[in-house]
């Protein structure tokens, strides 16, 4: 079956939702569900084995696009191994997001636009999941970038979203150009765009090849929010919450990790793994520090995503591709769950985002249960699924004691900050509400927002049960790591409990100096600002130069006019002057002829 059929229902749903404002949400949901069903049909019969998931699949489908002298471009798709993995994840998450959106989006006049953009976004990710060559991948890559820009800036008549969207698109466009450069350089060396051909071709060592791989790596960093390109992701919280849930779980930010995982053999042969490792560690540290200090209910989760992505790059940098993919899978579910949960809490709190001001759960036990399951999984507590990913990465780092220690420390802090996220609003519940609107709407929480969370909770638990049932985790996780990871995460939870929940007056409060210092995000935003200022200064200098250049040409033209005016003065009409000039000229000519 032609795998492009997968895109058809969801794109059709998006386009049709433009036609009807009233039914757009159901049309889009139907499109997304149909796409997922088509995925099942396409994948039916192909056997999936996690252990071999990372091998670059041979393309199963190709389509000639265009050719110009020596360049001929075809689009290659694959639904095998690693492509299959991502396809399944997106296929599971996207209907849940559309479902959740029905409850979340309560501005009917904007529905059509929202569902159209969301559908194109999901379709881009599905295309990305199937792509088996650079050009197809780049088409999907750009589709993701543009639709995410539109979705982040969705509420463009508010104050903040346009800035957030601009930050995102600026980072994205840097990534696009880096990626395009890398792709083009690779083509000149190998005359192919196809992943599997490249990987199997025993790529030769050349400087160009290394440059191209680095360009592609940094392009992936922009999409996957790695240092120094990570700040756009936390600002992207200005978009509607379902978009955040989608963006952070299975789409967009996973694109970069996925691509590097796919191309990892090339990075191994070019000896570039240390670069990936170093940037991964830096990003994870940045993510944790920001998450510990942030007070924005969604930004804490966003920084947590940055940390998770950093950890995936750490695993890739250690060559442990399966550990990275394990975290890749489990993170999808718990992060989608957490964002949906945060969205529900915000809805009930009149869109307030400061965790020190909101009152969580207000007696809604379902929401609380989902939040606890998500937090335990994110913290990596045994046996919730998040544990699998984190412990597997610990195991892969066991030969490198420095990295291992950093990872353990990060795991501890992760458990700490996510339970801060959980406990601080819970604690708040006991004091007197200052604003009557805040925290009162829990009773009205919509079913369409709760049910997807329940499904995801079941998946979060189910994934680890499945893994234990298959008895396959011992391949990726040693017993020592199992014990250490469990101990560390439980310690983190316990410390959070003692800091934020049990004491009467919470330590590390909203106004503490330490939190303020850390919440500056280690001045990455300030660095962006100074870079932008620098470019503006250069532009200013160029502007002045251009003005002078203009003046130079102008004075040339002016000089010609002045010369003309000067000569014109000789044409005064005075016959005496003409006769004199004539005589002088005649004498000169005679003199020249004589001499």
């Amino acid at each position: 079956m032609n795998p492009l059929i997968i895109l058809l229902p969801i794109l059709l749903g998006g386009i049709l939702s433009l036609a009807s404002q009233k039914y757009s949400r159901f049309i889009a949901l139907a499109g997304s569900v149909l796409s997922s069903i088509v995925i099942i049909f396409v994948l039916l019969g192909s056997s999936f084995s996690f252990a071999s998931a990372y091998t670059a699949a041979l393309p199963t489908y190709s389509l000639n696009w265009f050719s110009l002298s020596t360049l001929s471009v075809s689009l290659y798709l694959s639904t095998m191994s690693i492509n299959e993995l991502l396809l399944i994840l997106v296929g599971i998450i996207s209907p849940l997001i559309f479902w959740y959106s029905i409850g979340y989006m309560d501005v009917p006049s904007e529905n059509s636009r929202y569902y159209f953009e969301l559908s194109v976004f999901a379709a881009s990710m599905l295309l990305f999941a199937m792509s088996a060559d650079f050009i197809t991948m780049f088409i999907a890559w750009e589709g993701l970038g543009i639709t995410s820009y539109l979705l982040i800036g969705f509420w463009y008549n508010k104050r903040e979203p346009p800035y957030a969207a601009r930050k995102a698109i600026t980072t994205i466009i840097i990534g696009d150009i880096l990626m395009l450069s890398g792709i083009l350089i690779i083509w000149t060396s190998f005359h192919t765009f196809v992943f599997s051909t490249l990987i199997n071709s025993q790529a030769t060592q050349s400087t160009n090849f290394a440059i191209a791989l680095l360009l592609i790596l940094f392009a992936s960093f922009t999409k996957s929010a790695q240092f120094p390109f990570h700040e756009w992701l936390s600002d992207a919280m200005e978009g509607p919450t379902p978009v955040s849930a989608f963006l952070h779980s299975s789409t967009m930010v996973k694109a970069g990790v996925f691509l590097i995982a796919l191309l990892l053999p090339l990075y191994i042969s070019a000896h570039l793994l240390p670069v990936i490792l170093v940037f991964g560690i830096i990003t994870a540290i940045f993510g944790v520090i920001n998450a510990v200090s942030s007070k924005h209910i969604k930004k804490i989760l966003a920084y947590s995503t940055i940390e998770d992505l950093g950890l995936m790059f750490v695993a890739l940098g250690l060559g442990a591709i399966l550990a990275a993919l394990l975290l890749f899978i489990v993170q999808t579910f718990y992060k989608a769950l957490m964002f949906m949960n945060a969205g529900s809490i915000m809805k009930a709190n009149d869109e307030e985002t400061n965790i020190y001001k909101i009152y969580s759960f207000g007696g809604n036990k379902t929401l609380l249960a989902a939040a606890v399951i998500g937090s335990l999984s994110l913290a990596g507590v045994f046996p919730f699924s998040g544990f699998l990913g984190k412990a597997a990465i610990d195991t892969s780092a066991s030969s490198n004691i420095m990295v291992y220690l950093i990872l353990v420390a990060l795991d501890f802090l992760t458990a700490f900050y996510i339970f801060r996220w959980l406990f601080v609003p819970m604690k708040q519940q006991k004091s007197n509400p200052r604003d009557s609107r805040i925290g009162t709407n829990f009773a009205y929480a919509k079913k369409s927002m709760i049910v997807p969370q329940l499904i995801l909770s079941v998946i979060v638990i189910g994934v680890s049960l499945f893994a234990f049932y298959m008895n396959s985790i011992s391949q990726y996780i040693t017993t020592t790591d199992l014990i250490i990871e469990s101990a560390v995460s439980i310690a983190g939870v316990a410390v959070a409990l003692f800091v934020f929940y049990i004491p009467k007056r919470a330590l590390f409060s909203e106004r503490s100096a330490a939190r303020n210092f850390l919440s500056k995000g280690l001045f990455v935003n300030a660095a962006y600002y100074y870079i932008a200022r620098f470019v503006q200064l250069v532009a200013h200098a160029i502007d002045i130069f251009d003005y002078e250049l203009n003046r130079f040409f102008y004075s040339g033209a002016r000089g010609t006019t002045d010369l003309g005016n000067a000569i014109r003065k000789t044409e005064s009409g005075s016959v005496n002057l003409y006769l004199t000039a004539f005589a002088v000229g005649l004498i000169f000519i005679i003199l020249i002829l004589v001499l």
Binding site: L68, E142, I146, G153, Y156, N157, R159, T170, D543
Partner: protein
């Protein structure tokens, strides 16, 4: 066959008709450009079916000097002709002209149509020069008569630069005429006649022609006519100026870089200059506040990149540049149409004052956004195919460092999205006049958008002609 002659004869006839009658000149211009478009599309289909885009027609002209009225069509001129006919038709149809100026505007547009069509079809350099000058004079009046407040200065600046370019071009052509065997001015036979000339004449001619085309394209440091001219011209004027007029220079560059064997000696320096030019314009754009001026600067960036690709002097670079000219012409016409529509609706061009355009003019806002996507080379638009081909050619010639000019698009894109978030998708601040868009303008958007996406998704339509 007299099909090429008819392409030039149609606008001349319509011009005569418009000069004789006083009414309906707008419709006459639309019909004239539409007939040309139909003929060109016919030629395109004809070439694809016959797998040959080569047609030559010759008529006697100034036989005492050995100059004929030679028209020739090849794959390069067919692509440019297609671009110019689409743009001219859209311009005539939807360039929101003031009613009292309709007759002047339409006459000038058809005059420009003669120039553009003739230039891309000319078989010898004599005709090339004549049509070049017609193509320069018409926009001069489009700025001088139809333009906005500061039109006089802008138009004089434009004409001084362009006449200077024409003079250089004329010198070059005279040199070729004197030294070519048999005084042949044929463009197709240019490389063979050049090979029999003394080296210093070749060098001198190359420099003269290069400077002339460089002013027209324009490349730094001879670019300063462009922002003023494009900003002050009427919407129609801006569309044809940056859509078609700047491609005269590009077409000329394609001719000289394929004909002069000595171009190899200069190509690297010219490449460096065009990289400087691209970044120079990309930085200058950040200091602009006028939405038409911003679009004008994108032209300098794109034309510099096109120049860069031409200097690669390999198949991918040259044909990539050709495709890029098609892409850029369509996109920039679209963006000027959108910018003109914004100016028309809000009587304002400064991005500091314009706020929340999307609330009032949804269609124009999204069209402008698509224009940005196409200019930054997003896949499925024409810009992507152009970028891929151009930079593959350039990497082939200069190695991996040839990707550097791509990064000027980062600056460009970054700034364009700044504009979008500042003026288009932002909070509406004051009550603004209703942004009514006429149906003719919607058709204009539709045609340009359709061309951008059709040639971007099915580039084989164009590439099949080139591959012949």
């Amino acid at each position: 066959m007299t099909i090429l002659l008819s392409l030039i004869a149609v606008p001349i006839l319509f011009l005569a008709l418009m000069l004789l009658t006083k009414r309906r000149s707008g419709s006459l211009a639309t019909i004239s450009t539409f007939i040309s478009l139909v003929i060109v599309v016919y030629l395109l289909i004809f070439s694809i079916i016959n797998k040959s885009a080569s047609i030559n027609e010759s008529y006697s002209y100034i036989s005492s000097l050995g100059i004929g009225f030679d028209l020739s069509l090849n794959s390069i001129s067919l692509v440019l002709l297609l671009m110019s006919s689409i743009i001219l038709f859209v311009t005539a149809l939807s360039g929101n002209i003031k009613k009292e100026m309709e007759r002047t505007a339409s006459i000038l547009l058809v005059l420009f149509q003669i120039g553009a069509t003739g230039l891309f079809l000319s078989g010898n350099l004599f005709l090339f020069f004549i049509f070049w000058d017609i193509g320069v004079i018409a926009p001069f009046f489009m700025i001088n008569i139809l333009g906005s407040a500061n039109r006089r200065n802008a138009s004089y600046k434009f004409i001084i630069y362009e006449i200077f370019a024409s003079a250089l071009l004329l010198f070059g052509i005279i040199l070729i005429y004197i030294f070519a065997p048999g005084h042949s001015l044929s463009i197709a036979g240019l490389s063979s006649s050049l090979s029999q000339m003394p080296m210093y004449v070749q060098q001198l001619t190359f420099i003269l022609l290069f400077l002339a085309f460089m002013i027209n394209m324009p490349i730094f440091p001879l670019h300063s006519w462009l922002p003023d001219a494009h900003t002050e011209a009427s919407t129609q004027g801006s569309m044809v100026l940056s859509g078609i007029l700047t491609k005269f220079g590009g077409f000329g560059m394609l001719i000289i870089f394929t004909s002069f064997t000595i171009a190899h000696n200069y190509s690297f320096y010219i490449a460096v200059l065009s990289v400087v030019s691209a970044f120079y314009a990309a930085l200058l754009i950040m200091r602009q506040h006028d939405i038409k001026r911003i679009v004008a600067y994108t032209t300098i960036i794109e034309m510099s990149i096109i120049m860069f690709a031409i200097t690669a002097m390999n198949t991918l670079g040259l044909y990539g540049a050709l495709f890029a000219m098609l892409a850029h012409g369509l996109v920039v016409a679209l963006m000027f149409l959108a910018a003109g529509s914004i100016e028309h609706a809000f009587s304002e061009r400064s991005i500091d004052v314009l706020k929340g355009i999307a609330a009032d003019a949804k269609l124009t806002s999204y069209v402008f956004l698509v224009g940005i996507l196409a200019i930054t080379g997003v896949p499925l638009t024409t810009g992507f195919i152009a970028d891929v081909a151009m930079f593959l050619g350039a990497i082939g010639a200069y190695g991996a460092y040839a990707v550097i000019p791509l990064f000027s698009l980062v600056l460009l894109g970054g700034f364009m999205y700044y504009v979008v978030n500042k003026s288009i998708f932002s909070t509406k601040e004051r009550t603004q006049s209703s942004a009514f868009i006429g149906s003719s303008q919607k058709i204009g958007y539709a045609i340009l958008l359709a061309s951008i996406f059709i040639f971007g998704i099915i580039p084989s339509i164009i590439l099949n002609i080139i591959n012949i």
